[in-house]
Amino acid sequence: MKVFLWRAAVLVGALGAWELVARPLNPVLYIAPSRLPSALMRMLNVPELPPLSQHLWLTLQEIAVAYALAVAAGLWLGFLLGLRRSVGRVYEPLLAALYAVPSVVWYPSLMLFFGLGPASKIAFGFLLGFFPIVLAVLAGIRQVPDHLVTVAVSMGARPGAVFTKVMLPAMASTMVGGFRAGLALSVVGVLVGEILGSRAGIGYVINYAYGLLMTPEYALLVVLVAAAVLALDGAGALLEARVKRWAG
């Protein structure tokens, strides 16, 4: 209880400090939290700004497609490398090497190939989201207790049954963790793509606001997007905890 109070105090204190610090400073650059609600009203009413709902819908679609592709490819590659030990041993170091490269270096090439439309954002979101999923599948396979497999085999379980009845449940919580991380990264990928260069989408709107020095609106958008991402991840965390409690 005490911790909860302290946490709330920190939040209130931070907001208060932000307000106090931002007020006397250049209003173009520094936005006090108190200016955000009015920015919200303006954004919903003013015709200069593009219709928010359309952009939001586009971004969501991009995220959905990127993530679906990431999950499909991630599961496929993860199981390929993880179940066939020989293949995995050879190609995993290559995967690890790719992980050492800052992901954003791929974006200009993607932009060149796919153009400024949704495709490049989807491609980048896919690229970012796919890695954690592959890694989670590999880690999940590794931490299936050998003993449980032995028990199942000793009771006559065939490889198919061992996979569905022992491996998958044992891997469940690790995989959900991977799905969660993959979603977070797919979202980041799409957003980065939109902010770096696009003609539509939430990232584009943020860029647009920034470009026109509509800082309160920009700040509002940042807060809203951040809150949405956090909520999504929070839901993922709850799911992960649930699965962890079930599967052990």
């Binding site: 911790v3 920190v10 650059l29 992901s103 954003v104 270096v105 060149l112 951040a226």
Partner: protein
């Protein structure tokens, strides 16, 4: 094993080259490996000075992140109450896509080097902080009890027990932090800048100079992999008492 990896890469490159030559892939969008190779020389000339700029910004931002992250991680990790209060916020901030803050930084600091440095620091500080905090928390309590029972002051415990004990975590965080720092710098350069490798890559993309772009991508990738491999080597030599 190396043979398999090399063979697969070679095979992929051959297929790629064939695809372009046979007209399956448009060389405007997908340059042939041979074209990339020949562009490498000229690109290096363009890229090297900008690479230097990017590296300097990355290093500065990284140093900032390490200083801040290690200190904060140590402090948060060693005080239970503080850890419980602060951690959810740190994790939440880590979860927010930091790209959202980039326009604001660019607004304040413009096209100067500071934007790149600060973005690099922003991206790198979180993983470092989290790993150091976790490593600090995981320090065997018995060790601290022993030191306390021998009359060690808080400061002495920090220096003689905590610091050596968390070296593996710090190194791990730093290894991850380097890639993030470089990511931040490149991102800042791509978004708002006229200097550095990120900007060069954006410009090459917009100009449809595919072979040069791929060459530049290869150069950055090679650099990054080298840095990470080097850090892992350091870790193996110095951080392996666990």
């Amino acid at each position: 094993m190396l043979a398999w990896q090399g063979a697969t890469l070679a095979a992929l490159l051959l297929v790629w080259e064939a695809a372009v030559r046979l007209g399956v892939a448009d060389p405007l969008f997908v340059p042939a490996p041979s074209a990339v190779l020949s562009a490498l020389g000229s690109t290096l000339g363009e890229a090297l000075p900008r690479l230097g700029e990017t590296l300097v910004k990355t290093l500065l931002g990284y140093a900032l992140a390490v200083g801040l992250g290690v200190t904060a991680g140590l402090v948060i990790g060693s005080r239970r109450m503080l850890h419980q209060i602060a951690m959810p916020y740190v994790v939440a901030l880590y979860g927010v896509p930091k790209i959202l803050i980039l326009p604001w930084i660019a607004l304040i600091f413009g096209l100067s080097h500071s934007t790149g440095v600060l973005t690099a620091a922003l991206f790198a500080v979180f993983p470092i902080l989290l790993m150091v905090a976790a490593g600090t928390r995981d320090v065997d309590a018995t060790l601290i009890t022993v030191a306390t029972s021998m009359g060690a002051t808080r400061w002495q415990i920090a220096r003689k027990v905590l610091l050596p004990a968390i070296v593996p975590s710090v190194l791990a965080g730093m290894r991850i932090g380097v890639v993030f720092a470089m990511l931040g710098t490149l991102l800042a350069e791509m978004f708002a800048g006229n200097r550095g490798l990120g900007f060069l890559m954006q410009r090459l993309a917009v100009a449809f100079r595919a072979p040069e772009l791929f060459a530049a991508t290869a150069i950055v990738s090679a650099l990054s992999i080298t840095v990470v491999l080097f850090l892992e080597h350091l870790n193996r030599r110095f951080g392996q008492w666990r």
